[in-house]
Amino acid sequence: MFAEIQEANFNQDSLYHRLLANANNVSKGNSGAIVTFTGLVRDSNASGTIEGIELEHYPGMTEDALKKLVEQAIARFSLNSAGAVHRVGKLYNQDPIVWVGCSAPHRQAAFDGAVFLMDMLKHSVPLWKKEFCGDKSDWVEAKASDDKAALQWMKEQV
């Protein structure tokens, strides 16, 4: 597994092969399904056009929380491996923000793991987005729908 907070961009092919190599270390030849999610900066929000976002995090806790989440996903969905990378700092429209990947014997677990990781990440990993446009900048408000998605996973937990 891997869980990283970084300013640098990431490459789809490298992350995919890193995940697959991890999965093969755990259970060689057993990965039949790999799901990845990539989040990008959209060029507008409800109030209009933006130029980008500035991502603040809590150094130390962010890494811990992301790692714990990836470990939870692996245990809960019996994944062969999972990984997550989240960028921080100044990002511009269409820049990639986050990548999560899950590898499992079959597709259902890989999809569930990736949905779980994104839902929980948006609920419990200390990261904050501030959208900017020219001199103006505004903190993004947490969405009630994101809270609901995470609470659903917590309720379903055995």
Binding site: G39, L55, E56, H57, Y58, G60, M61, D64, A65, H86, I97, V98, M118, L121, K122, H123, S124, V125, P126, L127, W128, K129, K130, W139, V140, E141, A142, D146, D147
Partner: protein, 82 residues
């Protein structure tokens, strides 16, 4: 008892205090730390208003928890990563 306070995002901007070393009586709770900070000035009152989350040594936690020497307590708004 010495503890460390950290703030992030809007809470950091409103309080204008990203880091603060604080002395609190033995056995204080996180709720008591918040009450103490609010009493310092208007900025802290504003910063700690509404649905502010608390982490204790990098774990999200409840305000009722009792502090220990050298705890790192962080206050921040609901997260918006992803």
């Amino acid at each position: 008892m010495q503890i460390m306070i950290k703030t992030f995002a809007q809470t950091r901007e409103l309080s204008q205090v990203p880091v603060l070393a604080l002395s609190m009586p033995q056995g204080s709770t996180i709720a008591e730390v918040k009450t103490h900070l609010r009493s310092l000035n208007e900025k802290w009152s504003l910063a700690l208003e509404g649905s502010i989350l608390t982490a204790r040594n990098h774990q999200l936690c409840d305000e009722k928890e009792t502090l220990q020497e050298n705890d790192e307590i962080a206050f921040f708004p609901p997260v918006t990563g992803g």
